[in-house]
Amino acid sequence: MNTTAEPAPETVNILDQVTLTNDQVALWLGQFHDRYLPGAQRRGMRLERVWRSPAGRDATTVHILWVLPGIRAFYRMRGAAAADPDVAAFWAATDRYALNRQRRALQPAMPEFVDAPEPDPAAPDAASTTGTGPKSGAAETNPTETDSAAAAPTEAGRTVHGTGAHA
């Protein structure tokens, strides 16, 4: 039942989901922007998307998608976060009033579309057809391509994370 690791995927995604009462969302987003985002970016996390969705009559879930350029970048991030007391403090403060919180590390499950399929000129409404692939929208940003340093053989023997590392 080996889930053999293929060559390191180009990206690792982290999905944060924080559920708050509606009156706390703006405050929390401000705290996130001021107290968490700068450090996260210094740790190599690129903010990809922030969404919100109703989570009940008086609750909203904030969904935050991050991108890291590979698994070794993920471990470096983990080590840096573990060594920074401000990270733990931010989440401890969040957890004092958040209704729920989750974080998941994600691996790409399908190859990304490089080009949107060409519209069929013979099809009706062909002129209004927009691209359907994940990279077709103008607002889409491409994740950083493979971080060659992260995948280089010289990484193999290097400690890529300090205290508070991994299994």
């Binding site: 053999t4 690791a5 993920f74 590390a105 299994a167």
Partner: protein
């Protein structure tokens, strides 16, 4: 006879009985003192200065025959006080399942700490593996998604529900003889 893991700043003295294997920790090891020993003893071994030892109470283990020298990896970790038995069982099950997903793990053993010698240490568990090569540990083991996208959540302080304290001792070294034997998996 109890199996012990020792983290020390020197090799064991020639008069110390029961040593299965000992050697210098390889670059990339963190949290140790420079050397790690594996030995069997009925009582706490006599330790030099700057050494700590833990006695192992087996939880689960697996034996995979491996000829020749190998890489012996030892992780000492601390599960946070107050963790429920149900959650602890799930954590131990997740760790124990890593060999099912990661082909480079050969023999392995998950143990709880049953006793200590030397300065007070916080360790509650010892997670050990043998690999044929260093790359088996620093490559496949780290890069496998079962590790970083599933098991790591127990260790990641940013994930709600993490239970492992940030301080770890992750040491690995070469060993000519096997450390984790068929008897260890009984």
């Amino acid at each position: 006879m109890t199996r012990w893991v020792v983290l020390a700043a020197t090799m064991p003295g020639s008069g110390l009985d029961g040593v299965r294997s000992a050697g210098p920790d390889l670059p990339g090891s963190v949290g140790g003192h420079g050397f790690s020993w594996d030995l069997d003893a009925n009582a706490a071994p006599e330790l030099p200065t700057r050494a700590e030892a833990v006695a192992l109470c087996p939880v689960r283990a697996g034996f995979v025959p491996l000829t020749g020298p190998r890489i012996k990896r030892t992780l000492l970790l601390t599960v946070r006080d107050g963790t429920s038995t149900d959650v602890l069982a799930e954590f131990e099950a997740d760790l124990s399942a890593m060999p099912e997903h990661i082909a480079t793990i050969r023999s392995w053993a998950l143990s709880r700490v049953a006793g200590r010698a030397g300065p007070a240490s916080p360790w509650t568990h010892v997670w050990e593996q043998e690999y044929a090569t260093v790359e088996g540990l620093t490559g496949e083991y780290l890069l496998n998604p079962y590790h970083w996208a599933h098991v790591d959540r127990w260790f990641d302080g940013e994930v709600p529900g993490s239970i492992v304290e940030p301080r770890l001792a992750h040491v690995f070294r070469r060993s000519d003889p096997p450390v984790l034997t068929a008897a260890a998996s009984d």
